[in-house]
């Protein structure tokens, strides 16, 4: 069981690397925003899995809720701002 959770953590970190490639490489700013959204989703799940692995879920789940509120609402605010202002596309 410990080994299974460790494999899940390693696989999630590899998936974060895949999204990070899109954030660094993406041609427009909207690609970077989508990549940021995917990274924040993975990070929330990663925190909960680490909490189960350490058997301290009651502490890690609160950090995870705070992270979800900050990141997702922040990304939504950036998207609405770009929608009103309009981004420059080369």
């Amino acid at each position: 069981m410990k080994t299974f959770l460790f494999c899940v953590v390693v696989l999630l970190v590899i998936l974060i690397g895949a999204f990070l490639y899109r954030v660094l490489q993406g041609p427009t700013i909207f690609d970077r925003l989508l990549g940021h959204n995917g990274i924040s989703t993975k990070a929330i799940i990663l925190l909960i899995v680490i909490g189960i692995s350490f058997e301290r879920v009651d502490m890690f789940i609160d950090i995870s809720i705070g992270y979800a509120l900050l990141n997702l609402v922040g990304a939504l605010a950036v998207a609405k701002y770009l929608e009103q202002k309009g981004a420059s596309i080369e």
């Binding site: 899940v8 909207f30 690609d31 189960i52 997702l72 929608e83």
Partner: protein, 99 residues
């Protein structure tokens, strides 16, 4: 950890891997948003259901379900807002070149 939660977590990991491949391989932002919103939301849903089943009844399961509701509502909303901003700022959808 019972068998059911392991099945749910592995299914969620499968959908997340599909989402990552789609985000790397697809050609433009409109098609990438399918991978980044649909497959990613379903993968997060399945993984959090598996974790909640492992945790059992209690206050921790309730908090995990709160995180699940937040992710499952806000992830497609962010993708939709991003794509609407891309469309309104004049980005053209990708088309296959006719040779």
């Amino acid at each position: 950890m019972n068998m059911l939660s392991i099945i749910f977590i592995v299914a969620g990991l499968f959908f997340m891997i599909v989402a990552a491949i789609g985000v790397i391989r697809l050609p433009d932002v409109f098609s990438r948003s399918h991978a980044a919103s649909l497959a990613d939301s379903l993968g997060a849903f399945l993984m959090l259901v598996g974790i909640a089943l492992h945790e059992g009844l209690g206050i921790n399961m309730l908090k995990i379900l709160v995180v699940l509701a937040l992710l499952y509502i806000l992830n497609p909303v962010i993708a939709h807002a991003t794509i609407r901003a891309a469309l309104r700022s004049g980005l053209k959808p990708w088309q296959k070149e006719t040779s």
